[in-house]
Amino acid sequence: MEHIIKNGFVYDPLNEVDGEKMDICIKDGKIVDSVSADANVIDATGKIVMPGGVDPHAHVAGAKVNVGRMYRPEDSKKDVEAAATGGRAGSGFSVPSTFMTGQRYAQMGYTTVMEAAMPPLLARHTHEEFHDTPIIDHAAFPLFGNNWFVMEYLKEGDVDGCAAYASWLLKATKGYTIKIVNPGGTEAWAWGGNVHGIHDPSPYFDIEAAEIIKGLAQVNEMLGLPHPIHLHCNDLGHPGNYETTLASFDVPKGIKVNAKTGSRDAVLYATHVQFHSYGGTSWRDVVSEAPTIANYVNKNDHIVMDIGQVTLDETTTMTADGPMEFDLHSLNGLKWANCDVELETGSGVVPFIYAARAPVPALQWAVGMELFLLTEDAKKVCLTTDSPNAGPFTRYPRVISWLMSNRARTDLMEGELHKWAQRKSSIATIDREYSFLEIAQVTRATPAKVLGLSDTKGHLGAGADADVAIYNFNPEIQNPSADYRALEAAFQHASLVLKDGIPVVKEGVVVNPTLRGRTYWVDTMLDETVYNEVVADVEKQFKQFYSVNFANYPVQDSYLPHSTPVKGVIQ
């Protein structure tokens, strides 16, 4: 099947296309240079054309996501949908059911989404949910930062062993990257504690966060993984944590990029940095340190970050940072779920109300905005809300409207937003507005590139997957700054979305809800001898300390009907 998208304003940063009117040709699910005269013509006159959106960090599938759904019927009830034709019904505002998740991403023009935290023991659960999540391509990030094997190998300085273990675990869980959450802290939480800063050793294992981060960053490059280590720093959400954040950023600096796929420049991906950019010593004297963080990012090229922008909604927080969620529960008194996962990780879930009228959420909103607007190069920034932590992904269009419209921000600040936003941050003094090219950069190009997927994702050059989003907004006639509500509406419900060349959304309505996306995972092997030794050791430990048999642990291939292995180093 051939398509030609004609006359749209194309924004494709990876190919340096900035709003030019040009045709996009599609054949057999791929972007091509030209098509025959028989191609189906899609008229995009007066509309914006972008590659399909890429979300590098969201919580959309797996154990804790489902706890978020299960234990919040009151959240499910307030946002419900009947089935699209041929599709399925669903519910959930902050944590939508799987069908709704895939459909709503597609409606916004997103075609690739990463599940940011997968407990290895529960990996099968994540893949089962992917199976029921329509349209979007996806991958999951297994958690490494509090894993007993990782801590033991790194404590002993056995980076090769750790690398072999990592390559086994990525295969066993069908995972995509090395995810690190509050390194050492979640293990401490298994005894009810936490660690603070990067030099506070974890109990028993006696290893510092800095050692874990550094060791895993080395492992990551030894294995030639497509994505750098994906780091959720220690001390999330604590006033004064920006120092820990900066110290963490410095740890992998100097390690050389060795990606076997894609073309990333970073050795560190820092996630939801908004939650890690606070000064002060308590919630009374807290201030934004976003300018300091942005300044660091401006000056260093080994790092790419996503923001975790607060959207000022009632939402559901969920993270593998177990101790942080207990702190949050102690703070707001709302229902607390937790799951400690043997030898590996933990998690917590707590509802949170980011009320615009309340001081702290207002400041958090401002911190996120400062990070977006003070980081000079959009190539270092990804747009996220750490969905659903700082707000549900369905608010991305609103975040886009805040980025493109100083007016939108001012209207909010002069309206109901608590004055802490202005008093404790510099946001009111910033008048930068993102261009459409920069929006395409932070929602497409940067995430695709840093994920190592930019061969086929995040751009509209020949060879890319034909994932295309067309929006009803005419940059020649309409001004996004002045008309920010129309902008938000346009990005909420795309005019047309193609996934692998197949129309999945037309005028905001999902038309192909049974389509299923690829599951990316990393298949890598460094040294077979070391690998076999390590696996034998792991099997021995399993018998004694795990509660499932070694043979029943790895995720079977049948869980990935659209399995897409990304090969790393194979020897």
């Binding site: 234990y71 019927p73 009151e74 959240d75 009830k77 008194g333 229902k335």
Partner: protein, 268 residues
């Protein structure tokens, strides 16, 4: 005034979110007859199960609805109504007055569970008995009834005023167990007896029990006898044991008054 005369009622229940003054206001009788209601998993026009007569007002406030008979299989009467009046001359099923914001509902018979769930204003009066969860919150929500008045002349089941956040509930008969469970604010007056767990896990608000409490919780503190207590701007005559709690909950600040008469066994 609009009169809905029940025709033969089905076994599989009806759901009538449309039977409110808000939905009827400004409509002709024919338009009201055609309003869709749920019968099981399909919709039918209201007139399939009700004879419709009379005239609706121009606004909700000017609209009065009379359901002239028993509708024990009809759910969600008066759902979310903001003004006007509904009178039911018989029994109703679940969720009468759910999410009610204003106006008045009177049920002359009994009402099943979840009467007045999530109510924020208006008046709901049940002349007979009601089931469980009168004036409660929806599953999982820690924010329940926030305003308005519910009066039950008969008995109520379990969990009256569950997660109540404001407003007032008066139950003139007996209740089963756990009245005021997780209550945060508001006033619950029980004129009859309670079996057990009055105010379990209450963090705030006030419960007054004029009858006998069979068993009381050990997580409360006893403060002696108070006479002619004043709650919510009104004085309730008589002598009451005063308890505060439930101290199972951190920072709890709830009050339970239990009539001295008949309750000496729960005073330590």
């Amino acid at each position: 005034m609009i009169t809905l005369k029940p025709k033969e009622q089905p076994e599989v229940p009806l759901e009538v979110e449309n039977v409110t003054p808000d939905a009827f206001a400004g409509k002709t009788v024919d338009e009201i007859k055609a309003l869709p209601i749920w019968h099981g998993n399909g919709t039918v026009p209201l007139s399939d199960f009700f004879e419709v007569e009379g005239e609706a007002g121009a606004t909700a406030a000017e609209t009065q609805i009379i359901i002239d008979g028993d509708v024990p299989q009809t759910k969600r009467i008066g759902s979310g109504m903001t003004a006007g009046e509904i009178t039911v001359k018989g029994n109703v099923s679940m969720y009468v007055g759910v999410g009610m914001k204003g106006g008045k509902i009177t049920v002359e018979g009994n009402a099943k569970s979840w009467a007045g769930q999530d109510m924020s204003g208006g008046e709901l009066t049940i002349m007979g008995n009601t089931g469980d969860y009168v004036g409660s919150s929806y599953r999982g929500d820690w924010r329940g009834m926030s305003g308005g008045l519910i009066t039950v002349y008969g008995d109520a089941g379990n969990e009256a005023a569950e997660y109540m956040n404001g407003g007032k509930i008066v139950i003139k008969g007996d209740v089963s167990i756990m009245p005021g469970i997780h209550m945060n604010n508001g006033l619950l007056i029980i004129e009859g007896n309670v079996i057990a767990r009055t105010g379990g896990e209450m963090a705030g608000g006030t419960i007054v029990v004029k009858g006998v409490i069979d068993e009381f919780l050990a997580g409360f503190k006893y403060h002696g006898v108070e006479k002619d207590i004043e709650v919510d701007g009104e004085t309730i005559p008589g002598a009451f044991y005063k308890f505060t709690g439930d101290y199972a909950i951190k920072g709890a600040n709830g009050t339970v008054y239990a009539a001295v008469a008949g309750n000496s066994h729960i005073a330590p």
